[in-house]
């Protein structure tokens, strides 16, 4: 059964259908949120639960125009933004004005640690487009950002990661 069919069943109150959707997408949702929270698994799981609960309440608004998981990740993105703003976890805007420290150029980091040093929009855009294989247009819609801004975040994020991983030419 497709996500759209399960979502339609869930919208009519079928909790089992929604349970199947949750099982199907929990890994991507929680993985995405762990990237956003810089590896804080507890916070990521709390946000994942809240996002899934919000999605359940708003199922009637899911038109089936895009993918269900895309719609779910957009809710998760917006939830993380709210939480980060409320708890002052990190700057939410473009990181253009924030100095980027590469640290010791000889020190080599693993990808997740390097990813954690990127700005929030860079982490979000890179994860959506490269790890979760959404198009730039889809990511722009999910993050509520202009397409050009998303492309800039991806290019800048890639450059920073290469430098952090010691791959810069």
């Amino acid at each position: 059964m497709t996500d759209g069919e399960l979502a339609a069943l869930a919208a009519s109150g079928d909790e089992a259908a929604y349970g199947l959707l949750v099982r199907r997408h929990q890994s991507r949702l929680r993985g995405f949120l762990r990237r956003l929270t810089r590896g804080d698994a507890a916070l990521a799981d709390d946000l994942a639960q809240e996002s899934l609960f919000e999605a359940w309440r708003k199922l009637a608004q899911f038109t089936g125009k895009g993918s269900f998981v895309g719609w779910l990740l957009a809710i998760a993105w917006s939830r993380y933004l709210m939480t980060a703003r409320k708890r002052k976890l990190e700057p939410l805007e473009d990181a253009d004005g924030v100095p980027f420290e590469t640290g010791d150029p000889d020190a080599k980091l693993d990808l997740e640690k390097a990813m954690a040093r990127l700005s929030l929009p860079e982490r979000g855009a890179l994860t959506l487009c490269l790890a979760l294989e959404f198009s730039h247009e889809e990511a722009a819609e999910m993050m509520a950002l202009p397409l050009g801004t998303v492309k800039s975040h991806i290019a800048r994020g890639r450059g920073k990661l290469r430098r952090l991983l010691g791959l810069a030419s």
Binding site: E15, Y18, G19, V22, R23, Q26, S27, R28, R30, G31, F32, R34, R35, D45, A48, Q49, L52, F53, W56, K108, D110, L111, E112, L126, T127, L130, A131, L132, E133, R158, L161, R162, L165, G166, L167
Partner: protein
């Protein structure tokens, strides 16, 4: 270190997260919430019924029902309508028998 030729492959990989009861916890929370909402609805209906009974005691309610029933039985338009229904029923039964 990640070699340059593996960079894109590494970026395309999002570590999988084991379920470990997460989905069951979400489903349980949703079921609990649904039950809570159902109970709240029942409570609201019961409260509304209680308010009606409080402001309109049963004696008055019975008297009101009795008055309406008596008014209906004394009403010529209702009597005519009931008579028409009976005649229609008789006609249909006769037509069926023929």
């Amino acid at each position: 270190m990640t070699p340059p030729n593996e960079f894109d492959r590494a970026l395309a990989n999002l570590p999988a997260v084991a379920d470990n009861g997460f989905s069951a916890a979400v489903s349980a929370r949703i079921a609990l919430r649904q039950e809570f909402q159902r109970n709240m609805l029942l409570l609201a209906v019961a409260a509304a019924a209680g308010m009606v009974l409080f402001f309109m005691p049963l004696d008055e309610l019975n008297a009101a029902v009795g008055r309406i029933a008596a008014d209906l039985s004394n009403s010529p338009p209702v009597a005519i309508a009931l008579g028409m229904l009976v005649l229609c029923g008789l006609y249909l039964r006769t037509a069926e028998a023929e």
